[in-house]
Symmetry: C2
Subunit: 159 residues, 2 copies
């Protein structure tokens, strides 16, 4: 494994398959509402500004990334979503949404992020139980057990 130091693009990319978290609240949707197609959102990475949602025009005028780079980023995020959605569905988990970050290395856009229950929302496909970051964010308890359950399902199918 080679670790590369990226020039991080300060945009959080969120892909959503079902409404949950911030989107559900903002748009007045019940958490768990299926979306007819994946929704991609961008947020400016800025603690001082509380990571505000931005759009392609903001990204362009703030010179965070070029139009061409954003096309690569959106296409890549949607491809990753298709792979992950199936991967988790086979493990009886609904991939509600997840966050990605990208960076540039030698001028090329590449993915620069982990994929884990800290960056994905995962709900048990049958019971709707939350097995992700919301367990501690919302103080639901059984944080470690939930992460272990995800690990078991993920590694159990791979081995």
């Amino acid at each position: 494994m080679v670790v590369k130091r990226l020039q991080i693009i300060p945009v959080e990319v969120i892909v959503r398959n079902l409404a949950a978290g911030g989107m559900a609240k903002k748009l007045g949707l019940k958490e768990g509402t299926p979306l007819s197609k994946p929704v991609v959102e961008y947020c400016l990475k800025s603690d001082a500004l509380s990571d505000p949602m931005i759009n392609d025009d903001h990204i362009e005028v703030l010179e965070l990334a070029t139009k061409e780079e954003m096309k690569i980023i959106k296409d890549t995020a949607l491809k990753i979503n298709e792979v992950l959605k199936i991967f988790f569905r086979e493990r009886e988990l609904n991939l509600m949404d997840f966050k990605l970050e990208f960076g540039k290395f030698n001028g090329k856009v590449i993915l620069g992020d982990e994929i884990s229950p800290d960056t994905c929302r995962l709900w048990d496909i049958k019971t709707g139980e939350r097995l992700d970051k919301d367990r501690f964010r919302r103080d639901l308890g059984s944080v470690e057990e939930s992460y272990q359950e995800v690990l078991k399902r993920v590694t159990g199918m791979i081995n």
Copy 2:
């Protein structure tokens, strides 16, 4: 003049030429910062949800408008901006930003809104004085005088 009852599309369309108001605050920009190209933003028209900013994907999954309708809306908003920007510049006013609403009539997308100092931000091009809704929104006084000044400049050039 014919008044048509539109089926309003519940999306506020905001076009910005210089950062001001909500965008400046959200992105930590100084009000009056020029933008390298016009920025278009969409908000869901919902008092209950405080008109949250949305993007094209949200508009599609919420079925507020089709992709084709949104293309017409964005193109039209940018064309209106080009006309208004020049119109106001000739009257020594900077068109900072403005809001539009669209509707459908017999299946066709048409503009359904007024254009006034209530829906536009207008700053005097030389002094930067605000001659718009921010006079009362921000309690700056001289509301009537400012609106009269805009009226004078607008009608003075037309007559």
